[in-house]
Symmetry: D3
Subunit: 137 residues, 6 copies
């Protein structure tokens, strides 16, 4: 079993604001992240798949194909978008880094080739804040 | 003469959209950056000052003081903000990286101690796109 | 279960020198790291916690709170300090990167909120040398 | 149990080309990586070992010794080499990143001191493409 | 005047070997870089142009257009190539980092829009070795 | 004229403390950097030389030779040292980043080959604080 990781990135706007809370409560909990007029990030995304090495290619899977799948199913839909407003697969989801990572897993997982498994979605919102999701309930 | 550089950063939303143009023209020129619902970046800001070394401190200037000046006059006003809507010193300015760098120069320059000069404002919008402004007309 | 990581850093002096050994033995085992007059590092610290995502906030835990806990209980006590002399929680501990990482785990773990668990303390002494500790006996 | 990681690097040429396939099939599967006249990379290699902390030294193992073992058994044999032609331990192996990582594991593992175990070979071919191998069949 | 920089990269093979010298002399002068069977690098390329800010766009020039020009005239011709054998614009040039940087200047400069000037070609062969060329004899 | 840069690094302890001042004044001016028991850094050093390209080698100068000169005359004398106590060429100099950069210039400049000139000493004390010195009075 070998693990293969591909780094991608996207730039997006978002805000953290619970629609069931007052403006004051949102500012109290989310601080500057609750700014009504949005803020944004350069997100770094690292997708790790695991599988056996194909003896003909030496690959777990073709990393160019992996990059295309991430682009088509994930980053093309997130790049230069507003995560609260523009992204069908985030509709009715609160765009914290945690929730975006889980949604990326669900979005990408069904499209991977049969011989590999999605192992980890790692999403950095800033160079100092990141989350990892390994699937599971 | 020694040059001293301090790295800071801020996270903000913006869009590129010329108010004198049609929506179509804006999309034609600015592409994904014209998304009406905004996008955003982690901006990296590097401020360089130049001056003589003070024999008592060994400093061109106290880098902690430089950091405070950048925070107070620049990053505090930009961080977690919408560059098109929320920033008084960018009012009526089009928030391209170039224009934001020039505005940061004008914002910071008057507040530096007498014995140093602002040499360069370097602003990276993504790890692969950056501008430098050295003042002057 | 989602894993949340926060990067912090501190700058400190130390030396590697076993008090039960002769100076010669220390130099033989620790080389330049045994320099009597100390040397130092910019340490990079990555703290990972794990937990369930809170449906109200979208957070495993508030990363700003996590940063404050790391600052109060760990980096404030280590930054610009001598790890052999100045740090109560390292008293009588030999400040190898391994031992500092274990001590940081013990220092931080009791202060985390009930709904998360400390998963990993990752400590880099230079960009090319790092250790990870996941708890356990 | 503590995990210790050492970062090393080497610069090498290679091409991806299955000798049992036609030139056309190789270009179809490997694209630009099949260029007959080679291409190359700065490879980043991270070796992680795990073990108990020695109470006399505070070390899982001496990281300088680990670096020497990696240099002697791995990077000295790969640096400024052609991975398809020049490396005895890659003979008859197809030099995909996956296969090189597995071969490094086999090359390094027998030379480590008894009190540690090789935990992970992480090999990045570019800053955006990397593999991890943890041993096992 | 504002300076705009775009980062690009390419992966290539090369060797350093003066065709007028004996094999022994080449090894004496170029060491491991003279390996007959090639070695390679991930090259990092930073192109800086300078110009006035267009009041309609806020741009020195469209960075997407700059990226396309670099791709078409430079990196597309270098990526996954052998710098000694495969690149028409390096024919009969010795592919040291210095000479490749100068050749990139000559290759890119005529294709830039009239309102900007090429300011600097910065080329890193490894993260620790780079050259800068500012044009001129 | 081409500019060639080599990155090196060293790890050292220091403190900022003017011997002509009281302890209180030193703490007031230098804050945590005045800690009597020292602190330390991983310093990043970038040395840039400029010269014409030698037509026989394609080099401004052999970067391996440049690295050896930096090692012999600079980093070997600074690495794992106390900058206030252990370094002959810093004797009676106050080890601010500015002063260390100037001293490195004076230390390295006479040893460079005749056909190149030292252009810049760039010294980063942390990833966010750096100085540049270009010589001159």
């Amino acid at each position: 079993m070998v693990y293969l990781t591909r780094h991608e990135h996207f730039n997006a706007a978002h805000k953290l604001s619970n629609p069931n809370w007052t403006k004051e409560k949102n500012v109290e909990v989310f601080g500057k992240c609750a700014n009504e007029n949005w803020h944004g990030h350069n997100y770094d995304l690292m997708i790790t798949v695991k599988g056996k090495v194909d003896p003909d290619t030496g690959f777990v899977m073709d990393v160019k194909k992996l990059s295309e799948l991430i682009t088509d199913h994930v980053t093309e839909k997130l790049d230069h978008k507003n995560l609260n407003m523009d992204v069908p697969f985030l509709k009715d989801k609160f765009p914290s880094t945690e929730n975006v990572a889980i949604a990326i897993w669900e979005q990408l997982s069904p499209h991977l080739p049969k011989n590999v498994k999605l192992h980890c979605v790692k999403l950095y919102e800033t160079p100092r804040i990141g989350v990892e999701y390994f699937g599971g309930e």
